[in-house]
Structures are given as structure tokens and as C-alpha cells.
């Protein structure tokens, strides 16, 4: 009888292990990731807390300050325009399609959002479907109140609500832990899964932080593929309904590197430009100077059209793109 109980218990434990492994997916060390250790976030606030980087700021103030100026710091809110585009993607996209299964925001699941959030908020994959609904409702509530506040700046409730929700949306971003932990390893079966207690950079050793006490070298931290995870090959064919946003990484591979280009994204956008974690692009004067050789030659010529003189100026413009991808991208 006792052995039967043990067998039953063992069987139950095996079943639980099997179901846990199924939920986590394949791969050794996957159970050590931030998402696996903490469990899926059940609210936007839990997701913000799960990837909280406030402890990084004390020791890395310059990097934080630079990052705070970057689009990464407001990857779904942007200037408000990005957030509005998320709403368009929702309304004109999966809420309007016959086979998406979405009729109202309550039907939205994480996978519906991943067309945008694969890159704008990759950690959303570490949240439950309830968070997908909350994100949709938050965006809509922000937008309605932002419009109301713009129309009537004296509408205190609209101003307060839109400001508060804009802060929430801005708190959902591509921060230290996305590049230096969650997305720091692309080849996880080769190099292992990013672990919950480790920051990934250029060195192995200790890291002076209670929660992230280890530092480990990421083999792709200075490689273009780190950025390429989000900056686009073309259609995201892994999705049930492919989306396409940036195509810079595709251009980098098939135009720049195919033509012998040797620099990485980090070489130009961080090191040579001196921009560090600002990582800005077309709006930055330094990047503008680095991106294009631009020459103009102009002269006058008096062309004889039959017996009629047609004086004209001829302007020859010559441009060479020195960036590692097409300009503009999109």
C-alpha cells in the first residue's frame, strides 16, 4: 500500500514536472529566467515591477541619463504618436479582422499584441492575457482623456488621467533588463538562457546588486544581431498574422554586409557617434553628418533650343549613404 502511494506521488510529481516543462518550453535553464522565476505578470504594474531597473541608476547614472533620452525609454508611448499608432493597429488590425477572435478589448490576448510588442515591449510575452486586455483599455482611456484634455485644458480630470496613464505607458519600455538580460542571448540552446540574477555585458564576475548579483559576458552584446532582434528583417512570419515595421536589419545584412560593410549597429550608433545609450538616429546632428556624403555642383549653361536661347542652371547632387542600412528605413 505504501509503495503504491509512493508510486502515485511519484507519478503526480512527474505529471506536474511534465506540465511545467511544457508550459516553459524546451531548453535547459529556461526555468531560471526572470519570467520563470517570478511567474507571469498579471497586471501592467506587475510587468513594470518585473523589469524594474531603478536599482541600476545609482551605479550607472550616465547610462541611465543617456537611455532616458532615447526612444527606447518610451517604446510604446513615444511622443504620444506611437501610442496612438498602437490603438490604430488594434482597431484597424486585429479588432477588424474576421478570424482574429477579437470583437472587443476583453477578447484580446497577448499574441494579438505581439505584432507590435514583439519589439516595442518584448517582455509583454511574460504576462497573462489579462495584461493584454489591461494594456488595450489603458491605451484607449489615455487617448480619450488626452483628446479631452487637448480640447479643454481646464478639464482637470482629463488632464490628470491622461498624464497618469501616459506615465504608466511610458514605464513600459525597452530598459536595461531587456538588452542586458531578457534579450541578451539569442542562441539560448548554445549559450544558455538569461538568468534572473545576472546582468549581461562584457565581463564575467560579481555584480554589486542584491537582485542581480552576477555579471556575465554576452557574446552578442557588441554584435548587430542584438539590435536585429527588433530592428527588422521584414515581415514577422512567425506571427499568425505577420506585421512589418522596421527593415533596417534586413538592409544591414543584405545590402551593407553583402557589400563588405564591417561595422555593427553599436559601432555607429553608440561608439563612433559618442551617443552611448542615447542611440538616437535621424534626429541627431552627429548621426546626420555620419550618415550621408552630400555634394552639390551647380553651373549656368545657355542652351540653344533651335534659334532660341534657353539659359538654365544645372544642379548635380551626389549622395552616398555611409550608414549600415537603407535611409530612410521603414
Amino acid at each position: 500500500m505504501k509503495s503504491l502511494k509512493i508510486i502515485s506521488l511519484t507519478a503526480m510529481v512527474l505529471c506536474l514536472s511534465a506540465s511545467l516543462a511544457f508550459a516553459l518550453g524546451a531548453g535547459v535553464g529556461r526555468d531560471g529566467t526572470i519570467a520563470a522565476k517570478r511567474g507571469k505578470a498579471e497586471s501592467l504594474q506587475q510587468l513594470i515591477d518585473m523589469y524594474d531597473v531603478s536599482s541600476c541608476v545609482g551605479c550607472h547614472p550616465n547610462n541611465h541619463e543617456d537611455w532616458n533620452e532615447s526612444p527606447h525609454a518610451r517604446s510604446i508611448y513615444g511622443t504620444g504618436r506611437a501610442a496612438a499608432t498602437m490603438i490604430t493597429a488594434m482597431k484597424n488590425g486585429f479588432m477588424s479582422w474576421d478570424y482574429s477572435g477579437v470583437e472587443s478589448t476583453k477578447d484580446i490576448k497577448i499574441e494579438h499584441w505581439m505584432g507590435c510588442m514583439k519589439c516595442h515591449l518584448p517582455q509583454l510575452a511574460d504576462a497573462t492575457d489579462a495584461v493584454a486586455v489591461e494594456l488595450a483599455d489603458t491605451l484607449l482611456e489615455w487617448y480619450d482623456n488626452a483628446i479631452a484634455a487637448a480640447n479643454n485644458p481646464k478639464d482637470k480630470k482629463a488632464v490628470e488621467t491622461s498624464t497618469r496613464l501616459a506615465e504608466t505607458l511610458t514605464s513600459l519600455n525597452i530598459n536595461c533588463l531587456i538588452c542586458h538580460n531578457r534579450n541578451a542571448i539569442t542562441h539560448k540552446w548554445t549559450d544558455g538562457y538569461p538568468q534572473h540574477d545576472t546582468v549581461y555585458g562584457y565581463n564575467d564576475g560579481d555584480h554589486m546588486d542584491d537582485q542581480f548579483s552576477k555579471s556575465k559576458r554576452s557574446l552578442i552584446m557588441n554584435e548587430a544581431i542584438l539590435c536585429g532582434q527588433c530592428h527588422g528583417l521584414g515581415p514577422n512570419l512567425e506571427l499568425d498574422n505577420p506585421t512589418q515595421c522596421a527593415t533596417a536589419y534586413g538592409s544591414y545584412l543584405w545590402a551593407y554586409q553583402a557589400g563588405g560593410g564591417q561595422e555593427t549597429c553599436q559601432d555607429c550608433h553608440m561608439r563612433k557617434s559618442g551617443l552611448g545609450h542615447k542611440m538616437v538616429s535621424y534626429s541627431n546632428k552627429t548621426m546626420q553628418e555620419m550618415a550621408v556624403d552630400f555634394e552639390v555642383q551647380a553651373y549656368a549653361s545657355q542652351w540653344l533650343d533651335g534659334s532660341t536661347l534657353r539659359p538654365k542652371t544645372i544642379v548635380n547632387v551626389s549622395m552616398v549613404n555611409r550608414a549600415g542600412h537603407g535611409i530612410p528605413d521603414g
Binding site: T85, T88, A89, N92, G93, F94, G115, C116, G234, P235, N241, P242, T243, Q244, C245, T247, S251, Y252, A255, Y256, G259, G260, G261, Y282, S283, Q288, A291, V292, F294, V296, A298, Y299, A300, Q302, L304, S307, T308, L309, R310, P311, K312, T313, I314, V315, N316, V317, S318, M319, V320, N321, R322, A323, G324, H325, G326, I327, P328, D329, G330
Partner: protein, 108 residues
């Protein structure tokens, strides 16, 4: 810039990322490739009576200010557009103008 294909079918452009798949054409500057653009800007001319009793077309304005600007337009229009380069020069018909057998307005 890339003209994205609408849902990867036909020749319609898709604008929102949720409907873009593929590229119909791409007018971007591509890495390492030289792109040259040539513009011809004609001087305005007036009909004038010539000493031999004929009529000729002559540019009364003998110079023009040429400005070439390179703009980065993230949304394809002037919204959030960035001026990357600006080149200005005054081009004169008379810099290398010589008397001709045709009445041209060139200085003698």
C-alpha cells in the same frame, strides 16, 4: 524609402505596420551606393527686340540663388521632418558668359 506591400499581395501599399508585409519598391539611399540627381532650372526669359530687327528671348535676371536641401521625412511629409543638409549658391549667367552670334544679353 521602402514602399511596403499591403498584406504581401498585389501592388497596393500598406501604411500601418499591422498591414505591411513585403516591399513593392524602395527609393531609399542604399548603403555604399552613390545616387546622383540632376536638376535643370531655366531662367525666366523675356522677348526683346534685337538691333537687327528680330525678336529674341533674353534673361533679364542674370543670376539665380539656388538652394538644395536634403530632408529626412519619417512620415513622408513635413511632419517631424529633419533638415539634414543645405547648400546655397548664386549662379550667374555672366560668370563665363561671352559675346555670341545670338542675341543673348551677355555682356560685350
Amino acid at each position: 524609402m521602402p514602399t511596403p506591400a499591403l498584406m504581401a499581395r498585389g501592388n497596393n501599399m500598406g501604411r500601418g505596420p499591422y498591414e505591411k508585409s513585403g516591399i513593392l519598391e524602395d527609393t531609399a539611399l542604399h548603403p555604399g551606393h552613390k545616387v546622383q540627381e540632376r536638376f535643370e532650372i531655366f531662367f525666366p526669359v523675356d522677348d526683346v527686340d534685337t538691333p537687327d530687327g528680330k525678336t529674341a528671348q533674353v534673361a533679364e535676371e542674370r543670376s539665380m540663388d539656388v538652394t538644395v536641401q536634403l530632408w529626412y521625412k519619417p512620415f513622408g511629409n513635413m511632419s517631424s521632418a529633419e533638415l539634414w543638409r543645405e547648400w546655397e549658391q548664386t549662379i550667374s549667367l555672366d560668370d563665363k558668359g561671352k559675346p555670341t552670334t545670338y542675341y543673348s544679353g551677355n555682356k560685350e
